[in-house]
Each structure stands twice: as structure tokens, then as C-alpha cells.
Amino acid sequence: MFRTFLAIWIGRLVSFLSRWLKRGGTSLPGYIALKIDPNLMKHLTSNYKKVIIVTGTNGKTTTANLLANILKASGLKVIHNTEGANMPAGVTTTLLESPGEVAVLEVDEGTLIHVTKQVKADMVVITNLLRDQLDRYHELEQLVQVINRSLSFIPEATLVLNADDSLVTSLGLNKNNVKYFGLARNELSQEKTTEVLEGHICPICHKPLEFNFYHYSHLGNYFCPSCSYSRPKADYEVNEVKLSFQQVCFNLNYPEGEIYLKTQMPGVYNIYNVLAASSTALQLNVKPVTIMKVVDKFLPGQGRAETFHLQNKKITLMLVKNPTGLSIGLKTIITNSKEAVYLFAINDLAADGRDVSWLWDADITLLVDAPYNLIICSGLRAGDMAIRLKYEGIKMDSVVVVPEQEASVNRLLSESVSEAVIFCTYTNLALYRRILRKRGAESEVAYMSSLS
């Protein structure tokens, strides 16, 4: 017990000091506290009414943010970590700050096991499993095994799983408390996909799966022609998707009824994020009207797609960390923008993934006819990106390679167009945000402080 008190006390002291030194956002307090008491997460969460873990490759930040917001709006005292703090040390740092009734914890899928060994989570939401930093978690199947082992420590937990992702649904096999969410066929469904696929192997008989249609990447309606396995029936299902300018509307059918949701977040992947958060909230008996209100107003916080204003330019900063993210990011930006400067800031440090081969798995065909007047490649792997563009058929007289990040921003600002988009890998994101802020850029989507 003394150990726990010491860990909490020192953790809070470090947290206070680091805030005082204005080094916000580090996971240092949790790191140190866990060194003192390795079981600290268990003690810190034992008094919560509900602990909900959100994990998966893409969308966990948005899903967890939105869910935390919905639960707060329903009157609960919610503790919630933010992106970048989704490893055990970060989760602990969040838990140290103040106690609450409900914890919504975004957890990195690769280190989930360290959390579930200690935290008796009531629910685990899994968004999807896509190709992401394969040199860290080298193959998805192995990742699935690791997650399965992580879940075995919390057999009582309700799993909220994406029915459209066969890798995710394989985690629901032989489990008791599983709820599925998914999309019915809609106007965005595609018969074929041009993206590189993964996870199209039957989890039962290991023969290839076939698809009736796709939503994006390997997410869709699948079945195994060799055995009886197929996409599970979704308890929470989206239908009648309507896309209009910067707004998506759809119906969410659930066992007790139906709600109509409207979100300002574009793209099919955000439908999944809204669906995952809303399904979990409905499971927790939150009133539908509360969910509708929060979803309607919700905008992603820092990181996903943040907009800055600088020297009469609107500059959008977008994190891309895997092929699906880049494919979808481009689709979203290109369909909504006029002539712009595009900047690709690609690094290969540990947090980015050392291997940049994934650039070739992204679907960048839309870029060929996009309305840009210049493409800038920057970062440690600026050259790799430029070669990628060259072989896609982009005209190279409108591509420049400026590896140094400050210089790349100078180049961007020297262009006369009023819009610019910066696609960043993980380690470039904070760097570009800092460069833009230092030059006096104002962020349009203010920090949603109530979220974090």
C-alpha cells in the first residue's frame, strides 16, 4: 500500500513540475509512477463505475474523444486520455491527474496487454485492424493473437467489435459478451477495391474470404465460401447514408430503436467512428437525444485535421500514418478543396515506422488530376515520397523536394494560392504545428479542452 501511495504522490509531483516547466503532454509522471508501483493502474481504476478501453488501428482517438464527450454530456464525471498518451505510461499519467466515475481509455493495440493485465475493463471497443507501422507490430495476424491474449485477462468484459472487419470479428469467436457494429450496403459501398487488402482470410478455415461489397480497405460484407463463416449480424447498423457538402447523415438501427445522426466529420471512416462511439454509449444506456446532440456538434480535436490561418492562407495539417490513412486523407481533401499546395512530410523515425514501403500501398491516383499548383516533399524520406509521386504519373515540374521542414514551410508560404494541406507522419505533426505556431498561425479548430 505504501508503495502505491508513494507512486501516486511522486507521479503527481512530477506531473505538477512538468506542467510548471511547461512541458505539457509528456507521459513522464506515469512512467515514473509505474516504476515505483508496477500495479498502479489496477489501484487507480478500482473505484471506477465503468472502465472502457478503445483500441484498434485507425479512429481510436476520434472514437474515444467522441465517446468521452457523450458520456460527459450525460452527466458523468469522465476521465479520458489523449492521443500520444495511449501507452501504459500515458494511461497512468491520465489516471493520476484526478479520479472520476467513468474512464474512457484510448489504448495502443500493441501494448494493450499491459493495460488489461491490471485494469478490469468493463468494455473494449475495437475500431479496426489495418496495416500500420508493420515493422513495429509486424504482421496483423500476430497482432490479433496478441490482442486475443490481452482480452483473456478480462473475460467478463463486453466486446464492442466492428462487424465489417474480419480480423476484428475473429476476436469475437468463442466469446460470450460481444456486440457488433457495422454498415449496411449504402451508396458509398464498392463492388471492388483498388487498395491493398489485408485480413481477407477466413479466421476459422483459413481459406480466402469473398466480398459482396467493400466500404474501405478490407472493411465490408464478407463470407467464406469454404465454411459457414460470414460477417456477423450487426447489433448496431448504419443505413441510409447521405453525404452532402461537409456533412454526413445516417440512421443508426439498434435493438431498441433507431436514431438519426448527423456529423460534420467527412468520410466513411468517420461514420465508423461515430458508429463505434454511439453504439457504446447506447450500450451504456445513454439517452439517444444526448448522443444526437453531441455527435452533431463534435469536431475532431488537435491532430486529425487541424486548420491554421497564416499570411492569408488556410493551412490544413493532417496526420497520415499508414496507407489507408493516406488514401482516405487524400480523398477527403481533394474532393473538398480548390487549387492548393500539397506538402508531404514523411519521416522514418521509430514512432513513424522505420520502413516507408507503405507509401506504395496507398492509393494516390486521385492526386494525378487534383487541382494543385505545387507538391512539396519534406522530411527524412522526402525523396522516397517524390519517387512515389513520379511513378504514379505526377508531373515532376510541379514537385519539389525540400527535406528540411522549416525551409519547406517557407516554400509553401511563397506560393500565391490561398490553400495548403500538409500531410505528416507522426513525428512531423508536432514539428509542423510548432513551426506554424511560431510564425503566428492561428488554429481554427480550437483545442477542445473539454475533451482532454
Binding site: 515493422d135 509486424h138 504482421e139 522505420r354
Partner: protein, 246 residues
């Protein structure tokens, strides 16, 4: 002139941007006015050994590789016939392993390969991964072949010759400084993903070999490789000082 490319199991063997190689071959041929035909063959499809100039196989995750390897046993004789006839072939990572004599798993199980290459692979514990550079004799000393490797298997060559020798990185097995394999015009390598994108000299070498069999001695029209070679040079230099077994 026409370059007929066969892409095997594109939906299964596609782990690390492997399809980038097809794009590089296609563009480099098209930029020279060479017509390109790409045929994707997968499970159950017949492989006509006379129908293609260049055959490509990528790497895949374990399960996908298992699915492909079952089917590859049926296509094996056709593939061997093509290689004996001098068809150009490039097999990467998992594809390379499948074309060897066998793969021995950690549990001691032996999975037969189709034996295009006199090489065998044993499962290892640590994955060998990171940036790699090799020297390929046929391509001269001026520009190394660079890439990224990430493999659990250790491959050992029988009587076959390696594709190149390791400058830094692990190569076939992390021990004997060999990387990849070559037999006639068939090549296997652990340099995965978009290998040809930063190695235009290797890409052109393969295109040249593929066309020669049909059209005799071919002189490929030079292209502007300044971007590719500059990136090759800078990436090579960047990792030369910081890492390397050799």
C-alpha cells in the same frame, strides 16, 4: 516491343508495398515506348510458361503465404519450365522463400517449396529487419542496391549463387554476407517492398533481360534517373555510418 508481365497472387502476396515494383517496371517500359501487358494470376489460374517475359511474386503475411503456397505447388512445374526457358523472374521475401527447396518452421515441420532455387529457409527467432545495402556484381560498383528487409526466416544457399553481397544489413541469414539468389534469369531477394523504386539500374537490368529473350540484344533508351539515384545515394550514406553488421 512488348513487355508481358505476370503478377502472381497480387491479393495475397502484397505485404510491404510490393506492388510498387510492378508500377516501376510498367512506367520505365512505357516511358521508352515499350508496350506493357500485366496479367494478374491467382488461385486456380493456369500459368502458361510461354506467355510472359517477366514474372513477379511478392511477400505476404503467414496465412496468406500459406494459401499461396498450396496453390503454387500446382503452378510449380510451369514456373520451373518458364525459368529454364530463360524467363525473367523476381521473387521477394515470402515469394523468394516459396521458390526454394523447403521452409522449416520453428516446430520442425518442413514445408516443401517448388525448388526453382537451390536454397532452403529455416525459421529464426529474432526478425532480421532494417535498412540494407548490397553490391550486385552485374550492376557494377558505382551504385549499390538498397532497400529494407524484415524477415524471420534464414535462407541458406546450396549450389546457387547469391544475388549480391551485403554491405550493411543482414541479407539471407545474417551470417554469411550473402543476399538473395540468382539462377538463370530468376532472382530472389529479401529487399522487400518497392525495391525497384530506388534502384533504377536493377529495374532496367530486369527489363533488359526480359526483352532480350524475345528481341535479342536490346539497347534501352536512357531515362532521367537523377531523382532515383540521388535518393539512393543519400539513403545509402545515411545508414552506412550508423548501422551494419558487415
Amino acid at each position: 516491343m512488348k513487355l508481358r508481365i505476370c503478377h502472381l497472387y497480387p491479393e495475397f502476396l502484397n505485404l510491404y508495398g510490393d506492388r510498387g515494383n510492378i508500377l516501376v517496371l510498367k512506367r520505365r517500359a512505357q516511358w521508352r515506348g515499350i508496350e506493357v501487358h500485366i496479367t494478374q494470376l491467382s488461385l486456380g489460374d493456369k500459368l502458361d510458361p510461354k506467355a510472359y517475359d517477366l514474372i513477379f511474386l511478392g511477400g505476404g503475411p503467414d496465412q496468406e503465404q500459406g494459401v499461396a503456397s498450396d496453390d503454387l505447388r500446382a503452378k510449380g512445374p510451369w514456373l520451373k519450365e518458364a525459368v529454364e526457358e530463360g524467363v525473367t523472374l523476381l521473387a521477394i521475401c515470402g515469394g523468394y522463400q516459396l521458390l526454394g527447396q523447403y521452409y522449416r518452421t520453428n516446430s520442425g515441420e518442413t514445408l516443401p517449396g517448388i525448388g526453382v532455387f537451390d536454397a532452403y529457409t529455416e525459421a529464426g527467432n529474432e526478425r532480421l529487419k532494417g535498412n540494407i545495402a548490397i553490391r550486385v556484381e552485374e550492376l557494377g560498383d558505382e551504385t549499390p542496391v538498397i532497400g529494407f528487409e524484415n524477415h524471420g526466416g534464414r535462407t541458406f544457399l546450396g549450389n546457387a549463387s547469391p544475388l549480391g553481397s551485403v554491405i550493411y544489413g543482414d541479407g539471407n541469414n545474417g551470417h554469411d554476407q550473402t543476399e538473395g539468389v540468382k539462377y538463370k534469369n530468376a532472382f530472389g531477394t529479401y529487399l522487400h517492398g518497392p525495391l525497384l523504386s530506388k534502384n533504377p539500374h536493377l529495374a532496367d537490368y530486369l527489363i533488359g533481360l526480359a526483352l532480350q529473350r524475345v528481341y535479342g540484344e536490346v539497347e534501352l533508351q536512357p531515362l532521367d534517373n537523377s531523382l532515383e539515384l540521388e535518393v539512393n545515394r543519400s539513403v545509402y550514406q545515411r545508414f552506412l555510418s550508423t548501422k551494419g553488421k558487415w
